[in-house]
Every structure is written in C-alpha cells, then in structure tokens.
C-alpha cells in the first residue's frame, strides 16, 4: 500500500519510476478526501497546486535530478505562509488571509521538490495542547476519534499518523511538535532554536518558536530536516553554522551513549502506564549499548510557570499586528478607531488566544514587569543552566514526552492550567532552546506513548541516530491506527 510507505521508500519508488509523483499525489489527495472527514486534520487541501508541483517534480525526476524529497507529498502546518494559499493559523482572524509570500521553510521544501498537498489544522495561533482551540474545529486522534491529537501541530500529527500524508511540518513553542507526535504515535523533531528559519512562520512566542518535521520514522524526519534547516538572512535569530547531512549518521552505533534520566521527569503526575512504557524503552537502549545515569534538572518544576509568562508576554506583542487595518478580519462598520481595533480583535481571536494576550499584557504592564516578566526570564536562565550542567555528564536526556496518553476532547478544555501541564516535560526544552524528539515507544490502553530524547545544542544528528537505532529494533512506529491501515 502506497500510503503506508515512508518517504525513504517512496523516494526509492519514484527514482525507479515504479510510480510517478503525479500518481502518488493523486492517491494522497484521494486518501485525504476519503479519510479526513473523521479527523479534520486539514484546513486547506491544495489539490491543483499539488498536481502542478507533482508534474514539475516528475520532470526533475525524469532528468535524474532532485533530492530524496522530490515528488513526495507533504502537508504544511497552517502557520507557515504559503504564497497564494490561505494561511489561517487556525484563526478566524486570518480566515481570509491569502499569504502574499512563502515562508522560508516552504521555499526550501519547494526547492527540494516536495509537493504540498495542503495546510494542516492547528490550535489557534499555535496556542493549545489539544487542537481544540482551532476556529476550524477540533482535530481527532486517529487512534481514537473521541480523543485529542495533542497540539498545537495536531493536524499534522493526526494526518501523518493516519497515513494521509507521509510527512508534515509543525512548529514547537512549548511542545507543539513533540506532544502531538507522542499522542498520535509518530516521530516529531523540534530542532535547536535558530536551526530552522522562522521567516514566514507566524509568530506566537518568538524566542521559543521553532519549526520542525513530523514523520513516521526518524529517517524521514532526517530527510525533511535536511531540507528545512539552514541559515536564513531574513531571520536575525537564524544560525549561520553548516547543516550536516542528517541521514548520514543514522546507523551509528550507540555503544557508550550516556543517557541521563532526570528524576523530576518521573514524578509529577506521570501516568503509571506511561512510566512503564518509558522504562521498557530505556531497557531497549541499554540493550543497544547505552549507559543510563540518573540526573537532576532541579528547576524543571518551574518551567511551565516561566513559560506561561514568557510566551504570553511575547504573544501579546506579536499579535498586535492583527488590527483589521492591512489584512485579516475587520469588524463590520467600525464607529471609530478604538471600535475597529477592539471588535476586529475581539471577534477574530478565540478565548485561549485572548487569555494569553491578556496574561502577557498584564505581565508586561507598568508595575508588574519585574515581578512577572523579568522574574520569568531569570528562571529561564536557571532552567537553561540545569541543562548545561546535565550535558556535562550525559550525551542525551530521555524521559516521557507527555505525562499521559491522549485525553478525550473536552476533558481539559475548561481548565487552562490542567491543559498547560500536559506540556510539563516539553516546555523546558523550548526555554533552553535545545533540540528534542519524540518517538513512538509503546502503547497504554491502545493509545500511543512517546519517548522524548533531548540533545545538546545543534545535536539533532545524535537525536536522529538514537531514534533511528531504536526504530530498527522496535516496530512501535510501524503501528497504524485501526481503520487507517
């Protein structure tokens, strides 16, 4: 079955001309058409554009040109600006926003020959951990459509898990790639801050946001990262260091790999079942020759509170540009300027976005800046220092990606803080700017569990190597949700 193939397998088929990109793209579009009704993982399916790109890819392939991504259908999270295609960011605010330019990630993937089949659903402006805040309706988890897929890249995760597309992009501000990857049983990588350009990626919290791949396997994630990563002169925070070939060291031996297990990641409301799965996975790594040491990240309990000051503060400012003047939603017949602003924004943004804007506005306002924003920035330093010290002793850090398997729709929707705590193990990585990956490691009550591997700065290759070796000896990542085989 074509739809269950990985990028690596599809690329081989395309190279051999077993099938064309156009055929593959048509099949993909059909599968989305047939199966997305129950998932709602796409906001936009751009069939015509996809077929056009596929035909171009076929021309390149016929000439023996192109990369491992040439002709491969992918989905873009609807946070990336795509020239001429609706870029809604999951919000009513951008319901009519046909982006007039391409994000750098989109440009790079186009250049690599990838075929964009559509834009995936997401929490509004990437603010959420369950995909329930999307203006375009919640996304369902393919493993159980009563459950959430996680968020904010929930559409991308669900689409890849259901094998609607071989791979998709996501963004991760506090866990938005890794947590849905975990909840949907796929591989999701958040690169080091600065590795992937943020240009054209609609900003939520600029100092935390980072784009990355969601795929079936670590190998596919490496192929995608090869295309996505790289210096961008349009992004001041983009890092100008050479990008290695992430597929090159996938098979490296793990003998002597020092794995740190932070004791704090195995307490704090961790589900017993999830803990058991993670223990088993660690056991697998020991079999592969890794050494395991217990470490401590003493300030990690403060990561979620620090995040919920830093991220809202940045978002309150980042989202000020949505004012109904130059693009996006504008209220009917504004009676004056203030009315234009307040109603356009009041109508355009959903409740969670408004909450975070208000928290951030408050945290930055006169008299509260030091107690909230500055304090959080200092705690952020402490959290980052914890990691620095840990990486003096270990090569990678492992633990659960999320404290539980996917919860049900509506279960946490009314209680922001409970929802926020579902990112308890992922958020610190964003505060520090480190790379992290989530890979399928087992199941609890038929729902997937993700193992998180955190690396030192710019050590994506090491993470992918560790993930790939695990996937060579396990088949958790090959499990397909019932009904989507």
């Amino acid at each position: 079955m074509m739809h269950s193939k990985t990028i690596a397998e599809l690329a081989a088929g395309l190279q051999k001309r077993d099938f064309s990109s156009e055929e593959l793209t048509r099949a993909t579009l059909e599968r989305i058409e047939q199966h997305d009704g129950s998932l709602n993982s796409f906001i936009t399916v751009s069939g015509e554009l996809a077929l056009e790109q596929a035909r171009l890819a076929d021309q390149r392939l016929a000439k023996g040109e192109g990369s491992a991504l040439t002709g491969i259908p992918v989905a873009q999270k609807d946070i990336f600006c795509t020239d001429g295609v609706l870029t809604s960011c999951g919000s009513r605010m951008l319901e009519n926003f046909i982006a007039p330019y391409n994000a750098t990630v989109v440009e790079r993937m186009n250049a690599a020959g990838a075929v964009m089949v559509g834009k995936t659903n997401m929490d509004e402006f990437a603010m959420g951990s369950s995909n329930e805040t999307s203006y375009y309706g919640a996304v369902r988890n393919p493993w159980n459509t009563a459950a959430v897929p996680g968020g904010s890249s929930g559409g991308s995760a669900a689409a890849v898990a259901a094998r609607l597309v071989p791979a998709a992009t996501g963004t991760d501000t506090g866990g938005s790639i890794r947590q849905p990857a975990s909840l949907c049983g796929i591989t999701g990588l958040k690169p080091t801050y600065g590795r992937v350009s943020r240009y054209g990626m609609i900003a939520y919290a600029s100092s935390l946001d980072q784009g990355g791949p969601l795929a079936q396997t670590a190998e596919d994630a490496a192929i995608l990262l090869n295309a996505m990563a790289g210096f961008d002169e349009r992004d001041s925070t983009s890092v100008d260091t050479p990008v290695p070939d992430y597929t090159a060291g996938l098979g490296n031996d793990l003998g002597g790999l020092r794995i740190g297990l932070p004791k704090e990641y195995f307490s704090q409301g961790l589900d017993d079942g999830v803990a058991g799965v993670i223990d088993m996975a660690i056991g697998e790594y020991k079999k592969l020759g890794a050494e395991v040491v217990e470490i401590s990240l003493p300030n990690s309990p403060l990561a979620v509170p620090a995040y919920y000051v830093v991220a809202p503060a940045e978002c309150s400012s980042n989202l000020s540009r949505f004012d109904g003047v130059r693009f996006g939603h504008r209220c009917e017949a504004p009676k004056d300027l203030e009315d234009l602003y307040k109603r356009s924004r009041g109508e355009g943004f959903g409740a969670e976005v408004k909450r975070r804007i208000m928290i951030g506005t408050y945290a930055l306002s006169a008299g509260y800046y030091d107690a909230y924003y500055l304090k959080a920035q200092k705690v952020r330093r402490l959290i980052s220092e914890d990691f620095r010290q840990a990486f003096d002793k270990v090569d990678v850090i492992m633990g659960p990606t999320a404290p539980t398997v996917a919860f049900n729709l509506g279960e946490k929707a009314d209680d922001p803080i409970t929802m926020y705590l579902s990112d308890i193990y992922t958020i610190a990585v964003n505060l520090a700017g480190l790379p992290g990956i989530s890979i399928p490691a087992g199941f609890v009550k038929d729902m997937p569990v993700g193992l998180q591997i955190i690396g030192n700065y710019f050590e994506e290759a090491r993470l992918l190597n560790a993930a790939h070796r695990f996937q060579q000896t396990t088949d958790w990542h090959k499990q397909t949700p019932p009904g989507f085989e």
Binding site: I98, S207, T237, L302, M358, R381
Partner: protein, 95 residues
C-alpha cells in the same frame, strides 16, 4: 493575584480586545488562576541571575545597506480590508 472585572476591562482595553460582558467573570477567574499558578516563580531565589531573553548568546547580525525590495503594493493591498488611492483606510484619526 486575584483579578476582578475592572482589571479584566483595563487589561482588555490595553490589548484592544472586546470582551463580552457575560464572559468577563470567567476571564477574571481564569486569569486569576493562571497568575496564581505562575506565582510559584517567586519561590526561587534569582538574586544574581541574569535574565535570559534569547536561547542563544549570539549577537545581532547586520544587514548590508542595500535596497532589495521592489514595489508590491497591488499584491499586498489585494488582501487589505479597505484601500483607496493606494492608502489603507481607517476610521478618522483625531490627534
């Protein structure tokens, strides 16, 4: 930190957000809970800690002073709510 309806109104005004009257109490409760939650930050001593605004300690790269952008007004204004003679229109601004 407990916020009341007035606080919600003040913050919403600063952020230029219309909040429906009926929703204000819920916002007040949720925002208060979130602020209570982040209050934990106060428990750790940060006396001599430098605030961290960026994950990296790199410094700003500088762009050469060359014009690289061309006029794309038509393209950009196609998505604008209201334009006339190349200008974006807004309700009368009083200085």
């Amino acid at each position: 930190m407990s916020l009341d309806k007035n606080d919600v109104e003040r913050i919403a005004h600063l952020a230029r957000l219309q909040i429906d009257e009926a929703d204000k109490p819920e916002y007040a409760t949720n925002l208060s809970n979130i602020l209570d939650f982040v209050e934990q930050l106060g428990t750790v001593d940060t006396e001599n800690v430098d605030p961290m605004a960026h994950p990296s300690d790199a410094t700003q790269r500088l762009r050469e002073d060359v014009v690289t952008e061309t006029n794309q007004r038509e393209r950009f204004q196609k998505i604008a709510p209201q334009v006339e003679n190349g200008l974006y229109l807004v309700p009368k601004v009083i200085e």
